[in-house]
Amino acid sequence: MNNIYKALLVPGIIFLSCLLGHGLHIQRISGGTGIQVSYADDSPLAYGNFELLDPSGNLALKGMSDRTGNILFVPDTSGVWRLAVDDGMGHRIEEEINVGADLLPMAPMSSRHPYQDIVTGVSVIFGLAGLISLVTTHRKGRS
């Protein structure tokens, strides 16, 4: 009987080590960089396709935004990461994410002032009004 145990011991150890060598482990982490993608009416782009390129231009991650339009990743190198999101219906947006040496995102490279859209819109309106006025005046002058 002892001989049987001895004969099975080594194969048994090898077999068990094979079992333990496989398998998945989960470790919870915090932090990372998150982006939320939405349409002009603030509705989220749920399940939109995205591609993330690392600072070397290699594809680092590919997937879909979640149901609230969020995309989250943990950068493993500093530099400019490039994110492209496409809704498959003619809308596409690209964003550069500058990651510092501490692997944390830095301030946006092209930050927008909260009132930038309003200022732009008002400028467009005044510009159009001026153009229409110019054309009208020109026509009156000719007549």
Binding site: A40, S43, A46, Y47, G48, N49, M64, R67, D86, D87, G88, M89, G90, G121, V124, I125, L128, A129
Partner: protein
């Protein structure tokens, strides 16, 4: 001026998705081609939709339903095309939804009505009773310029209140109001293809109609 500019910019930025049929009321049997297009300037397609968005593209009449599983991309026309052989005259509806993976239901419903021969009008033939759809309440094959047709917006087969946009390549965009009790009345001034679109509770739909210079058979 502000309202004017917002109205001006709105249509420029919004885009539509539609189904077109090239059958033009020809005699059966015959082949029809369905085209799924999307863009800002109906009937010209601006871009090819992602194939993964196309959900449950079907063709049906009162008797049967056919799921279109084979459709090809036309990179020149920037549209998806499906060819069908029609043996019998009558009315068919083609409808599909646009849905991203994991979304529980489509957010966009696209529909066209195909009249392939003489037919007796039946209001139920034009209704899919699924999703958001615009339902004509009159015989399409009898329509010609100068005629009217009531249009009802339905969600899951039930009338709902909203507005229907009417787009024709040679006409200005019009809007029709519909309520649960009262359909919108579309007056057809010109022949050709019409695109009707509407939205309801963050969903949108479209319906295309092909109006001949004279009604079918005239």
């Amino acid at each position: 001026m502000l309202i004017f500019c917002r109205l001006l910019i709105g249509p420029l930025l919004a885009h539509d998705t539609w189904l077109l049929c090239d059958y033009n009321f020809q005699q059966t049997p015959g082949t029809i081609t369905l085209q799924l297009s999307s863009g800002h300037d109906f009937p010209e397609s601006d871009f090819l939709l992602d194939k993964d968005l196309i959900n449950n593209w079907r063709l049906w009449n009162l008797d049967s339903v056919l799921v279109l599983s084979s459709f090809t991309a036309d990179s020149v026309q920037r549209c998806w095309t499906a060819n069908l052989i029609v043996q019998e005259p009558g009315v068919m509806i083609s409808q599909l939804g646009l849905k991203r993976a994991l979304q529980p239901e489509p957010l966009v419903w696209v529909k066209t009505i195909i009249v392939t021969g003489p037919t007796v009008f039946d209001e139920e033939q034009y209704k899919c009773s699924e999703g958001l759809e615009i339902v004509p309440l009159g015989a399409i094959h009898q329509l010609h310029p100068g005629g009217n047709i009531p249009l009802q917006l339905c969600w899951q087969g039930d009338p709902v209140a909203s507005s229907i946009a009417v787009i024709h390549p040679q006409s200005k965009m019009k809007h029709l109001r519909t309520t649960q009790e009262t359909p919108g009345i579309l007056t057809l001034h010109k022949p050709g293809q019409y695109l009707l679109t509407s939205t309801y509770q963050k969903r949108s739909c479209s319906l295309t109609l092909n109006i001949l210079a004279k009604g079918y058979g005239e």
